[in-house]
Symmetry: C2
Subunit: 423 residues, 2 copies
């Protein structure tokens, strides 16, 4: 059991000290003795950030294809490369993503992809937290459904067997246009029997919405409600095209949404998640980056800023003020993922970051919260602690060079496999 004493950090505008014993915050105020003393003078202390929707290993596809329409982008670029993904790609892709998250102050994320045993191993090695789901895609085929059920169960058992306090499995059906009603119902029952979170893309594009109405004569959310799929255990990624009725259903059922403004704008989704309407009915939206193929980074500071800009552009300059943005990216995200973090408070898990104020983009410091959301980016994070363990100090992360090298090699091997197949 180790202890850390953070000295003279700025917390809510005041200077204070924070004591960490093992994985918990045990005192705020008095400076205690500790194995490690961290001088945090002129640094802001805040909760580590929570990214509620991503596909971490897609970090290997960063910059592989941009500035394209969604369908050709998927069909001609993303899927042909993903076909070649082997477990080792997922390991190094996820390590790269975790490194980028640590470098930009994120300590927990909600993941959905393939080869997830390797993702779990990467997260374990990187030292942060994740909720990890096997991307369930049955394409309305019974045989494939049985394989996906097996895949989901296998991953859940694998992660439970790891007995990591930082990693939990989820059940992650991809979307209503790739998973049958039977598949969705199995996912919901299985998740609830095993007290797992559900993670799914919902109402991302107008096409998804229109196709659903055309095929089922009802909207995606109403359809999912009829299936008994909705509950407070669902993280609904994107949730862009919801109408008022759907938002009402989400609020009533306690569904959590993950807003992904950068990805939505980059892929030309052409609508912003109806944040104002969600807040009006008391929802607490959370924030995600989506995968690196459509963002193309995992910097939650940048996503906070763009989250606010898009809502202000769409609705009004007073919408999504900076203090609420920080809540969305810390406490509300942690609550959605059921993590005992997201606040700097005694008794909470010690997931903390320090943000340097001695930088041009953090000067002056009229308002620390405003500077965090609007002025700076993830590079201002100097120190990252997750579950009481120091993962980054003065921007140095252990083993960083190896991760960069191995991830670059993995990405090259993927690109090479695509080129060889195209020949």
């Amino acid at each position: 059991m180790t202890s850390i004493s953070i000295r003279n950090a700025i917390l809510n505008g005041e200077m204070t000290n924070i004591q960490i014993e093992d994985h918990l915050i045990t005192e705020i105020g008095k400076a205690g003795e500790a194995d490690r003393i961290i001088n945090a003078r002129k640094r802001i202390v805040m909760p580590g950030l929570v990214n509620t929707h991503t596909h971490a290993a897609m970090a290997l596809l960063r910059g592989y294809a941009d500035d394209m329409e969604l369908q050709p982008w998927l069909e001609k670029k993303i899927w042909p490369m993903e076909k070649h993904l082997k477990p080792e790609h997922n390991y190094w892709g996820t390590r790269l993503a975790c490194l980028e998250m640590i470098k930009s102050g994120t300590v927990a994320f909600n993941d959905m992809y393939i080869n997830m045993e390797e993702a779990a191993r990467a997260v374990d090695d990187a030292g942060i937290r994740a909720v990890i789901g096997y991307g369930f895609v049955d394409m309305f085929n019974e045989e494939k459904r049985e394989a996906e059920i097996k895949g989901t169960k296998k991953l859940v058992k694998h992660i439970n067997d790891m007995k990591s306090p930082r990693i939990r499995p989820s059940v992650a059906p991809h979307a209503i246009y790739t998973v049958s009603d039977e598949g969705l119902q199995w996912c919901a029952s299985y998740a609830r029997e095993n007290e797992l979170l559900l993670h799914m893309h919902v109402s991302e594009t107008e096409k998804e919405n229109n196709d659903c109405i055309e095929q089922r004569d009802t909207t995606p959310v109403c359809h999912l409600d009829e299936l008994g799929f909705l509950g407070p255990d669902l993280i609904s990624a994107h949730s862009v095209w919801l109408d008022d009725e759907e938002i009402g259903i989400y609020a009533k059922k306690g569904v959590k949404v993950s807003y992904n403004p950068v990805s939505n704008m980059k892929l030309g989704v052409a609508r912003a998640m109806p944040y104002v309407d969600m807040r009006r009915v008391g929802m607490e939206p959370t924030l995600g980056t989506d995968g690196c193929a459509s963002n193309n980074n995992l910097d939650m500071f940048e996503s906070m800023k763009i989250a606010a800009l898009l809502q202000k552009y769409k609705a009004h300059p007073t919408v999504l003020p900076h203090h609420e943005n920080i809540l969305m990216t810390t406490l509300w995200g942690a609550k959605a993922l059921r993590l005992p973090t997201g606040e700097v408070a005694v008794g909470k898990e010690a997931d903390l970051i320090l943000v340097d104020t001695q930088r041009a983009d953090m000067t002056p410091l009229h308002n620390p919260g405003s500077n965090i959301v609007y002025s700076t980016n993830g590079s201002a994070v100097s120190t990252v602690i997750c579950r009481g363990r120091l993962l980054m100090e003065e921007r140095k992360v252990k083993g960083e060079d190896i991760v960069l090298k191995k991830a670059a090699e993995a990405a090259s091997s993927l690109a090479k496999a695509v080129r060889e197949e195209e020949r």
Copy 2:
């Protein structure tokens, strides 16, 4: 006369060497001898970035007021603070802005504000380039107009007397709703007699557009055209609400526009500059950050990304692809400001930056241009050279600590002056 040899940098995807003699790029390819050898292995070399619209000294107002409607934001927060601006505030505010620009790869900017003699001194001391204009505001009052004419002439003489190869004066009428027709016509004639650029806010908000139509029965651009104000020497900041006729006039007259997506979104301008329509008629838009009170930073990397996201959101995911975004932020910006820079080419001024690729957010490097626009931010810039002079090396800028300290003190004294007046 000093020389610099940049070795093994990545230029357009290939490794090469660049020779700088005094202020010029004299060779690309062969590694030459030099007073200074810079190892640029695994770094991208690109032109220093050009910010075509800002109010640099507003860096002191960073984070002072956010999440407000435009009018109360101006009337209750910005103007009451600006009233207390003394020349020393402008000096340290502009030094802070220049430091932030250097730290994020910007080497030239187009400025408009008050106390501009001090801005010029700050730019001179910081070592970058600027076009500096006295914000001309006559409020349709003849006496005030005479004072503004005097102020403009005084600044032009002052800057000409400095004989700096990096600093030029402009003529900068604020906007059609703050400057009389007589004032605008004087500005245009004076600028043309003296071969100076014009710099003005045009068609930023719907209110500006609607008021103009109501008062003059014509749009802002048509009105300016009738006044003989438009020409290739005008940098038209914002240019958000232009209709097709106005865009046609701009194209015909060769007017340059400065797109300021972050400020426009943050202030709830609720429309995006019609980039697609401007490109269709052959215009080459440029990019600006606007001042720190409405952005709240000067990072042109971030602005590039948000510039693209907003156009993709508004129009189509293929709009404003990354290579065009980089042109907008380098060559097109340099052309608009009439600077012999914006390209890595023999005979051009040596305004160069190196971007580190050994970072999580720059890995992998499938496409350097995509990573620059979509994945990273200004913190990836390791080295900045302006006019052949090394301003930043390994992210260190000479005198940085003093600038941060003095700028923080200047901002505090402003805030204190406002508080004392409010008592």
